[in-house]
Structures are given as structure tokens and as C-alpha cells.
Symmetry: C2
């Protein structure tokens, strides 16, 4: 692991690191925020997965999460959203390839050799960060924005034993029925749609439920609402009798100005769940 930068932030440390990833077969960059409480022992962890076109940097610099993480004594991890580099496949579109890993293990050419973000987030990066930082492996929550909300929900619904708390901000909630999803799932997983269901939060929720309350926030003025489909997730949750906190919040759009506006609520939600 290389340290790319470390900055003092709200009494703790915001670091950026890189490492050679086996899962993605390339150098991967990620950010970790350690709150002041980490000086005295292991702290709970909140994973924040980012959306299309983002790197580890967007949420780290624009979500204003560190102040709330410091208040609650919880660490933040901001992974990248895809493999990157010269030998890594890409596409001219903003919503496929680098910056658009969709948190799946690709099985199709040309993506399969590097695009294994599911394994990277759920298996490889945890091994590294739990070895390197004072983090409590038994107190992990996960959240994310847009494509990252999709990642957070699908990972938590599949691995509730890892993620004891889950929320999402404007998630891609039903990708098998959306142009944000069908294109990417076809590219990464192939045309057999039966393989897509494991990566659709609404379908997973209807099938499995989750052993805790799921919190979802969505801006009512989000320019991408037709692609996000929160109604599918709400219906699945309510029919499953899944404990839920859902807000469709007036005036907010899809930007990080909105993400920052609800960040305190999400950090507090996870901190409370992980202390319970």
C-alpha cells in the first residue's frame, strides 16, 4: 500500500492510498477517513460507494461527510468506481467502462480481466484496510450515491453478515428495468438476464429482505429519476414488510450539493445502527 496523501480533517486524518489489486489486475486508489477516536482504538466503518464518472475523490471532497464521521467516531472508506489504467478496457460513453464498474464481476469480453468491482469491494479491499487501519470489522455499514447506492444495496442485501447497516442516496434501484443498468449488465454479464437479478436491489429485496431498517433518500427534482426507479424499490420493500425509511425530498437534484445536504442523516443512521 502506498500513501498518496494525508491531511488533517476535523481532528482526524483524511488519507488517500493506492495498492496493486489482484481482483482488478491494476493499481487501485482509495481514500480512508479516520476520525479522532481512531487514535484510541478500533472504530466502526462506513463504506461510501460513488456513482458514474466518479473516483475515490468526489465524495471525499464534496460530501462533507468527515465532520459527521468525526462527531460520531466512525471511519469512512471511499473506493474508486472501476479499474483504471492503460491496459484496462474502456468505452467512450460516460456510463460504461472506466468510472462505471457497476459493482459486478464482469464475465464478458473485453471487461472480464479487470472489471471485478464486486470482489474488490466485498473481499480484497476489506482485507487491506482491516490490516492497515484501526477499524472494527464487526461494525461495517455501507452507503452510496446513484450507481454507488446500487452497489451499497446489492452488496448489503447479498452479504448482511458483513454489512450490518445499509442506506442509499438516490440509488439506481431497479437496473434490470432501466437504461442505467440494462446496457451495463448486458456488457459486463452478457445477455442472459437471469444473471442480472443478483445485481438489482429491488429484485434482491423482494427475494431476501434485509435484517435491519433500510434508509433511502431521493431528491424530488432529480433529473435522473426516470432512470433510478425508487418506486420499484419502495414497492418491493413494502410488500416484503421490510423496515424502511424513505424520503422523496422536495427541491433536491442529483448533485453533490444534495448529497452533502443529507450526509449527516446517513452518517448518524449508520453510527446508531453500528453501536446497537
Amino acid at each position: 500500500m502506498k500513501t498518496l496523501s494525508e491531511n488533517a480533517s476535523f481532528g482526524g486524518v483524511q488519507g488517500v492510498y493506492s495498492h496493486s489489486s489482484d481482483a482488478c489486475q491494476c493499481e487501485m486508489t482509495f481514500a480512508v477517513y479516520l476520525p479522532p477516536q481512531a487514535k484510541h482504538g478500533k472504530v466502526p466503518v462506513l463504506w461510501f460507494l460513488s456513482g458514474l464518472t466518479c473516483t475515490h475523490e468526489n465524495a471525499m471532497t464534496k460530501a462533507g461527510a468527515q465532520q459527521w464521521a468525526a462527531e460520531e467516531g466512525i471511519a469512512l472508506i471511499f473506493p474508486d468506481t472501476s479499474p483504471r489504467g492503460e491496459g484496462v478496457a474502456n468505452d467512450p460513453a460516460y456510463d460504461l467502462g472506466q468510472g462505471a464498474g457497476f459493482y459486478v464481476n464482469a464475465t464478458e469480453a473485453p471487461w472480464a480481466p479487470h472489471f471485478r468491482m464486486w470482489d474488490y469491494i466485498a473481499r480484497e479491499l476489506p482485507e487491506l484496510v482491516f490490516a492497515e487501519f484501526p477499524l472494527d470489522r464487526d461494525a461495517q455499514g455501507i452507503t452510496g450515491h446513484s450507481m454507488g447506492g446500487h452497489g451499497a444495496l446489492t452488496l448489503a442485501l447479498t452479504h448482511p453478515e458483513i454489512y450490518r447497516s445499509v442506506s442509499a442516496i438516490s440509488p439506481i434501484a431497479n437496473p434490470t428495468a432501466s437504461d442505467w443498468g440494462r446496457k451495463q449488465l448486458t456488457a459486463y454479464l452478457g445477455t442472459d438476464e437471469s444473471k442480472w437479478a443478483a445485481h438489482d436491489a429491488s429484485l434482491l429485496l423482494a427475494e431476501k429482505g434485509y435484517p435491519g431498517t433500510i434508509m433511502i433518500d431521493q431528491g424530488a427534482k432529480d433529473q435522473f429519476l426516470d432512470l433510478l426507479k425508487p418506486e420499484a424499490l419502495a414497492t418491493a420493500a413494502l410488500l416484503k414488510r421490510q423496515p424502511l425509511r424513505l424520503r422523496l425530498i422536495e427541491t433536491y437534484d442529483h448533485s453533490y450539493f444534495y448529497v452533502a445536504s443529507v450526509m449527516q442523516d446517513h452518517v448518524k443512521f449508520h453510527a446508531t445502527n453500528l453501536r446497537a
Copy 2:
């Protein structure tokens, strides 16, 4: 108007009154809580509509609302749920007739002469209480439980110019598709289902929306969830891009123990909206 009782409560007064109702053609009982702030001028109003089998008394004695109303300086009005008395039609079932007015103006025999709860709540009772008590007519919110949540939502969606704030606790959310609804709408309004749509919150919301955030709470362990259909309301709200706060709360059932558990949130929600 006759005063049946007045009791000091959290620095204010909880009163129970009756009057001869033109709309319902019988003596009607209702309760008003005036917070301490009403001694010094007009205060905002929160209407609380009750559910099947209830009178004005259930929420007044079991919801614990007065403490929060006193804190926020907001009055509470608890109407009855139907006309009552010897000359008033009834049915042996708990969910039809007296105690089950469903907040409609009945057009069918034997209900039409007395069962005009829509007009009673929206027109007649306001005239009385605004004449008799120091209440701010321009600051009215409405909420309710179960059948009362249905009443609150349908009244507010139809008359947003009257009700500037609306929430509901475990509302009957889609009565045209539920056994809590189809039976009563048939009895009171007849078999022409086109006349029912004006009394279905999910259909009204899909058609009209509401110029403010709607707050809905629902217990995840509610024994009547199949009859309440919150998923229909959630879908209608999200597809309409209607600002919404929706909670499906783990462990809670349909009782007043649950209503009391969320009452503070509802009183604060309305008080905040009505001050804005």
C-alpha cells in the same frame, strides 16, 4: 355547543363538547385540546381523524398527543368517526355504520340521511370550532390513524387550500382495492366505482399530487397491512414525484401503543409546516 367536560392538561385544556349537527342530523361529540399558548392568541390547528370503531375519545386518551401539542403551541381537534344515536342506521359489523363513517357523504340507503362525515369534517365542524375557540383558520393541518389516515389524506388532497400540512399513521391507503374500502364504498356510495376514486388516497395522489411533503408512518408488524396497502400510496407518490417521508417501522403493530410512539414526530411535522 354544550361543554361535556374540561380538564387541565400540560398547561392547557382538554375539552369535550357536543352540538347538533346539520350535516349528520344528530348530536355529535368532539374533543378540542387548547395548548397553553392559546391563552394569548390564536394557535395553529391539527385535526386528528380516528379509525374504525373509535369515537372522539380514543386518540384523546391514548395517543399522548397533548404533551407535544403543548410544546409546539398547536391545538388538536378529535372529531367522532360517524353519526350516532337511535335514529341513525347501523350494521352489526364493526367496519360499517356507526364508528365506521369512512369520511364520505353517503348517497345510498339507509346511510344517506346521516352519514355525511366529509361535509361534517370539512365544512360544519370547522365553522363551529373557529367561532368558539382561538384557532388560526389559516394554519390547519390534518392527520389520522387507519380509516382516519384515509380521511386525512383524501381531505387534504382534495382541499389543499384548507389543509396546509398532511400526514397519516397507518392509513387505509388504497380502499378501492381493499376489503377495507370496497365494502364501505359500495354501501355508502353505491356500486358505480367511478364515484369511489375521490375517496382513494393513492388514486387522488396519482391524479393531483399535494403542494407540500406528505408524511406516512406504518408499522412493519401491523396485523392489517394487507388491507392498508401502503405500497400503492408509495408508488403513486414516487411516480408523481410527490415529496414524501415514508417509514415502515420495525416491531410496531396497529395499536395506539404504536400511534403514541410516533405522535411526537407527527405533531412536530405539522407544527413546523404550519409555522413556515
